[in-house]
């Protein structure tokens, strides 16, 4: 139970390994739902598959659960190839979208089901069901029917049911999709704490990037059947490896421009010069931007955009001048909509009470740390 982060040791044998897995539906000509997937899941980690619908994340989960068979490749669980093993012989726990609790059984019978089919004797079954229910803080609900529980309670029962037979890994397929926002956040913390307390390995599918950032040890961002980036949440957010990830995870200002120089500097200071279409030249960290002369996009997070009520010429060479178009109060922060001269728009976030707020209509200057501006190849 203390093993929670040992999985982060990259040298250890991974718990689950996808090796060159492809999945085609129908004729291969119609494309792959999953193309050449190589992915390791470490023991004890919570790995999230994040992506828009149809990106292959749920297919990947179902391949591991055994409800889909790969067209090519191997899936290893603890070193054993399970790609052709029927799902009931895999011993993997699955939490389904909208819970899939058995409506004709009591909560306790639902949780005991996996133990019953494994022939666990009754007294032990009862003990383990009780322990699983107390783990999700629903120990007094055993006699009820699923229909008598709230959505959050049903979700916790589904979790208990998928964990009670101590599977090596628990798969969760958009488990919180049916819950309202407040309950969803509460359940996120609950899942996270269960994961940490029990040292469970979990693979979690969601299309909600906020949820992925809150929960995960690592996030795999899917698009069009491929993984576009696999990284811990913070790295993913601050150092996206391509424009898709930058756009999909969190909010970004996207400013088109042209590359003007080769990279200069080392490490964190490595930067290129980009001429924005508005006519200002800025520094940005090159990610996959091309050679000088090629089109690119500079992405900057709104919270990294500094706004000052002075003229850009006084602020420094990389500052842009802008007109403050709108100030929107959002409770925990204030959003500033700024229009640049050429019609492009930049959004900045400021904490509430963060000093003097300029009036809409004033000319201001806008700047950012080049380390937080990422230059991607245009159209990527």
């Amino acid at each position: 139970m203390t093993a929670q982060k040992q999985g982060m040791n990259r040298m250890a044998e991974p718990l689950v390994r996808f090796e060159g897995v492809r999945k085609a539906y129908g004729a291969a000509a119609s494309g792959y739902a999953v193309q050449r997937l190589d992915l390791d899941v470490e023991k004890g980690e919570l790995l999230t598959l994040l992506g828009p619908s149809g990106s292959g994340k749920t297919t990947t989960l179902m391949l591991l659960a055994g409800f889909e068979m790969p067209s090519e490749g191997r899936i290893l669980l603890g070193g054993r190839d399970i790609a052709r093993l029927p799902p009931h012989k895999r011993g993997i726990g699955v939490v389904f979208q909208s819970y899939a609790l058995f409506p004709h059984m009591s909560v306790a019978e639902n949780v005991a089901f996996s133990l019953e089919v494994r022939g666990v004797p009754k007294p032990e079954r009862a003990r383990r069901v009780e322990r699983a229910l107390s783990m999700v803080r629903l120990e007094t609900f055993g006699e009820r029917r699923p229909a008598q529980l709230s959505g959050g309670q049903q979700q916790r029962i589904a979790l208990a049911r998928a964990m009670v037979f101590e599977p090596p890994i628990v798969l969760l397929d958009e488990p919180l999709g049916a819950l309202d926002k407040a309950l969803r956040e509460e359940m996120q913390y609950e899942i996270r704490s269960l994961h940490q307390r029990l040292g469970l390995t979990m693979m979690y599918v969601t299309h909600d990037q906020q949820e992925a950032l809150t929960l995960s040890d690592r996030i795999a961002v899917f698009e069009g059947g491929r993984i576009r980036q696999l990284a811990p949440p913070r790295r993913l957010y601050e150092q996206p490896e391509n424009a898709f990830v930058a756009g999909f995870v969190g909010e970004n200002n996207r400013l088109p421009g042209t590359v003007r120089s080769h990279p200069e500097g080392e490490g964190r200071d490595r930067a290129i010069r980009v001429m924005l279409d508005g006519g200002t030249e800025v520094l940005a960290r090159p990610v996959d931007a091309g050679a000088p002369g090629s089109r690119c996009v500079v992405a900057v997070r709104p919270e990294r955009v500094a706004v000052a009520a002075i003229l850009a010429s006084e602020m420094g060479e990389d500052a842009l001048s802008a007109r403050l178009a709108e100030v929107i109060f959002q409770g925990d922060h204030v959003r500033l909509r700024l229009s640049l001269g050429d019609g492009a728009e930049v959004v900045a976030k400021r904490p509430v009470g963060g000093g003097m707020m300029p009036e809409p209509g004033t000319l201001v200057s806008v700047a950012w740390d080049p380390a937080h501006a990422h230059a991607f190849a245009a159209g990527g």
């Binding site: 659960a65 055994g66 409800f67 029927p86 799902p87 009931h88 011993g91 993997i92 726990g93 699955v94 389904f96 979208q97 909208s98 899939a100 609790l101 058995f102 409506p103 004709h104 089901f113 996996s114 089919v117 494994r118 049911r161 998928a162 037979f165």
Partner: protein, 405 residues
């Protein structure tokens, strides 16, 4: 406050008035005619108009010994009047009464008309001696008891008869003589054939419903049409088609003969197998449709969840899919079984003498012997069987679960 109370009442009255036409319609075309027909099972109207004095004289009789002179005198007077009326109008009152009494006590069909004829001429002395001189049978208890049983405005004679029961002279219950006791056997046969037809329909219908429920959407209309096709032709046409197929020189025998699989044509028709085959063919849609509906509304993640928890597909079916589709199975079995109890044409055309079910005997009594009392009593028997089955189903399963989950 008064208005607040009056308005819902008014609304309720208005609602009642709106459904009133439908209620009256149902009452007029459904409840009243069927009720009137079923009432004939207990109605006694053949004997009392012919022998009013006799019936009155027997009302105080204890049935332990043959009645006294008063009853004999009443019988003589009644028969003289009835005979006179019959001769005058050309009617058959005496014949009708004797037919009814004959059903209770064989021999009455000749005894009563003969007695009526012989007492018509005036005679001297006691009526008792004169009647006994005509036939010694009047000296026994049985004929008088039969007249008394048939004399009331209502009696349980027919209802007991369809259960192979009979009252003796003192009114005690006893079993009917073996040559009349056929209805229990027919009731069991009817129920047994209903059970067989239901079981076969379930065995074929569940996999079929499963197939349709899991078929790709493109194939569903075609499969559905295949199931519903039997609805588009009349029951008699379908039954007749089976006759064509199964008869001695029919399609099946011709094919088997041509393939040299059989030497002699097989006796496929006029046996229970043929009846069941056609019944299943006709009733199958009533089994498939409710099961299909309950499988269709099933969340397919549930069996998947069961499999992910370690249950083999067979076990997932047994523990999850099957229990969740039981409401459809129950509804289908109920529909098929109740309809099977009412099958008449199919056994009549495809079955032998030993394959006839209760409805055949309803038709027999209604159209061939014009014994409406027995026809109605047998109908009551079918109705009671259905009521018992519904009650058992309601008790075991509950009707609220019958709609697909």
């Amino acid at each position: 406050m008064a208005a607040g109370v009056a308005t819902p009442l008014k609304a309720r009255l208005a609602a009642a008035a709106l459904v009133a036409p439908l209620l009256l319609f149902l009452l007029g075309v459904f409840v009243l005619p069927i009720g009137a027909f079923l009432f004939r099972a207990v109605q006694e109207s053949d004997v009392a108009p012919v022998l009013p004095r006799t019936v009155a004289a027997l009302s105080a009789w204890d049935g332990a010994a043959p009645p006294g002179e008063a009853a004999f005198a009443a019988l003589v007077e009644d028969l003289r009047e009835a005979r006179a009326r019959d001769q005058q109008s050309g009617g058959g009152e005496v014949a009708r009464a004797s037919a009814r009494l004959n059903a209770d006590l064989p021999g009455f069909r000749s005894l009563l008309p003969m007695t009526a004829r012989r007492v018509a001429a005036p005679f001297e002395g006691e009526a008792r001696a004169a009647v006994l001189a005509i036939s010694e049978e009047w000296g026994a208890i049985a004929p008088w008891a039969a007249i008394r049983r048939a004399g009331g405005p209502v009696s349980d004679f027919n209802l007991l008869a369809v259960l192979d029961l009979k009252r003796d002279a003192t009114g005690g219950l006893g079993t009917a003589p073996p040559d009349e006791a056929i209805f229990r056997a027919i009731l069991w046969r009817t129920l047994w054939m209903g059970v067989l037809a239901t079981a076969i329909c379930l065995a074929i219908g569940y996999p079929l419903a499963w197939l349709i429920a899991t078929a790709p959407p493109r194939a569903v209309p075609w499969l559905m049409a295949g199931v519903l096709l039997p609805f588009w032709t009349s029951l008699i046409v379908r039954t007749a088609a089976w006759m064509v197929l199964l008869q001695r020189e029919g399609v099946v025998n011709a094919a088997l003969g041509a393939l040299r699989l059989v030497e002699e044509p097989l006796p496929l028709l006029f046996n229970r197998g043929a009846v069941l085959l056609a019944m299943v063919h006709i009733l199958l849609p009533f089994m498939v449709l409710p099961i299909y509906a309950s499988l269709k509304s099933l969340d397919w993640r549930l069996p998947r969840a069961a499999v992910s928890l370690g249950a083999s597909p067979a076990r997932a079916f047994r523990r999850v899919t099957l229990p969740l589709s039981l409401p459809g199975v129950g509804a289908g079995c109920l529909l098929v079984f109740i309809q099977a109890l009412g099958f008449y044409v199919t056994p009549a055309l495809l079955g032998g003498a030993n394959d006839q079910m209760l409805p055949y005997f309803v038709a027999f009594y209604a159209s061939r012997t014009v014994n409406w009392g027995m026809a109605a009593a047998l109908s009551c028997l079918i109705l009671a069987a259905v009521a018992v089955i519904l009650a058992v189903y309601g008790r075991l399963v509950g009707f609220s679960r019958m709609r697909p989950a």
